[in-house]
Amino acid sequence: MENNNGLASRLASERINRRDFIRRSAAATLAVSALPALTTRRAFAAAKEVNFATYGGMINENTRKVFAEPFEKETGIKVNLGVNSSLALAKLQVASGGSAQWDIVNLTGAEYEVAVKENLLAPYDYKIVDPTHIAPEYRKPYGVKYSLFLFVMAWDRRKIPDDKAPRSWAEFWDTKRYPGKRSIYANVSDGDVLEIALLADGVPVDKLYPLDVERALKSLDRLGKRNIIWHTTNQEPIQQLISGEVALATAFNGRIVVADRGGAQIGYTPDYAGVSGNYLTVVRTSEHKHEAFEFLNYVLTNTKADVEYIKLTNYAMPNTQCLQYLPKSLVDTLPTSPTLKDKVFLKNDAWWAANLEKTTVRFKEWQMTP
């Protein structure tokens, strides 16, 4: 950077001959190619920023509105939000050497377990993040599970009225009753495709784990590959339902609630849904750990903001102070609601962390055979 400025000022102040110019532009080129490394290390540190990779769409919109903007006003620390957070992104922060580009990353339950095993994360600073009102089952040494959501069956109300909609995964599988394609999330560890396939095949919700992967694949074969459209990002099923491309889909409940608030006609049921949650973690090589934990403290303990976030997304937060400020009708639809206790299953992060690769490859192999 200095080289570059030097060249510019000399160009402005004195005449330089051609050979000089060439020699210096070569030096400047070298300097420019080294620029990205310089900016991530120096400029960001100076400006008091924290970079948070999350999942895009309504998650980013609401995170910005409810958490990032008020936090910026209060502390002067700028929060930059990114999309497509994943274990791969976390690993890249550490593997690429130097300091991390993303300080806070969102990880799924299974991803969190793997990230801890591979030493990608910084231990939580519970001196900055006040643990008093964070439910202990969500507090971990390297992360806090901060939003719980449901993986549900959803339908296009314009084609399937609520009273004719499927009430179980077996009905969701019924191609005679509901002809046409279903859009299903292709990510086995992020979503619950194998779990719902087993439920459709008659496995009770409390007997899912350890997963019988082959039985799940047979169940999917029964539904038929030609009756499935695979989606790979979370906003896709919402768009497909709205555009009429499919009448049935799997989706995360928060996305549906937000879409319906925007006028979409998407119905869903929390029955037989999968409950999973995301961790908020800080990357081990982050140079803004202090700022990161300050922001996380805001996200996890500011009750007013948390209540607003729950109202906007229908995702449960670990802040135990929130429930008293929420209407009962909303509490009943949260993943933590007692009314859903025996009707939903918890994604088993430990099983997934232990079987992640084997299962992912086997599923891909199955997907690829025509």
Binding site: I22, L87, V114
Partner: protein, 305 residues
């Protein structure tokens, strides 16, 4: 590889005129001419550095990643149950795309060659417009046309008795349509260039010796355009093997190609070492093809050695 080769070719081209331009300056001894030449080669240094930083350094990093644990990464990639299927997909899809694109490209090039100036401009615009359009835009446009409630199926529903939508999207057909659309300009231009270099007196000569229009086309013109066909075919095949986003948007899971497998290793299995090993294997195979491409004669009548 291709880019570096291109760089070398250009340096050769630039050096020629540079040397010639200095020639009239008779007062200078020949040695000075060569010094000018050498100092002008310095002008290539920035681009050399940029290529070094953007292509060579990452490549070295990838090779280093792939060699963590010796050759185990390669062994694991090569023994993966997914690989055989993926290679088959890549070869079949790429060959199909190449054959269709070269056939269509040949017809388009011939039309360009034989049309009048106004028609030629129109045709060129039709070829170049998709060439300048982003691949994502083209892919999503095809998705909108091909989906179950897309334009084509809606049209069929209106005119036809069929109520069941034709399965046009998320399959191999859609991938090949999207890929042919993308690579068509790459097929047209090598063939068109070769056609432009054909001496039109040959055609008159053949006719004067009694050849029919078909004989002229089949026995005289066609063989002269073959170098263009080979070059177009190889170029299109090389580009086709590297497709990533089109199989994602237009294909189903059974249409995954090698680039998608790299992504699968890097993103879903989060195993950068195996992703790197697979990437290195792809670069090696494609390098052989690029090497062959660099050696295909680019011109028909005069260039074919």
């Amino acid at each position: 590889m291709a880019k570096l080769g291109f760089l070398c070719d250009r340096s050769g081209d630039d050096a020629g005129p540079a040397a010639k331009r200095t020639a009239p300056d008779a007062s200078r001894p020949p040695l000075a001419g060569r010094r000018v030449l050498r100092s002008r080669l310095w002008l290539l240094l920035p681009i050399g550095i940029v290529y070094g930083a953007l292509a060579v350094v990452p490549l070295v990093l990838i090779v280093r990643f792939s060699l963590v644990g010796g050759l185990t990464q390669y062994r694991e990639v090569l023994s993966s149950p997914l690989l055989a299927h993926i290679v088959e997909n890549t070869v079949v899809i790429s060959i199909t795309t190449t054959v269709i694109a070269v056939l269509l490209g040949y017809l388009l090039a011939a039309a360009l060659w034989r049309s009048g100036p106004r028609m030629r401009v129109l045709l060129l615009i039709l070829v170049l417009l998709p060439f300048w359009t982003g691949v994502l835009v083209k892919n999503f446009a095809w998705a909108a046309l091909l989906q179950d409630n897309g334009a084509i199926n809606e049209l069929l529903r209106i005119i036809g008795p069929s109520h069941e939508a034709l399965p046009l999207l998320h399959n191999r057909l859609a991938v090949i349509i999207g890929m042919v659309h993308y690579v068509l300009p790459y097929a047209v231009f090598p063939i068109y260039t070769v056609m432009l270099s054909i001496d039109d007196r040959l055609e008159r000569a053949a006719k004067s010796l009694g050849a029919s229009a078909f004989s002229v086309a089949w026995l005289v013109i066609m063989p002269l355009t073959l170098p263009g066909v080979y070059a177009a075919g190889l170029l299109v095949f090389i580009i086709s093997t590297g497709f990533f986003i089109t199989p994602v948007i237009l294909g189903g899971p059974s249409d995954m190609m090698v680039a998608n497998l790299v992504d699968f290793y890097a993103h879903q299995l989060v195993d950068f070492n195996r992703a790197a090993a697979l990437a290195v294997l792809i670069v090696m195979v494609i390098s052989v093809l690029v090497f062959a491409y660099q050696r295909t004669p680019k011109e028909g009548q005069y260039g074919a050695v």
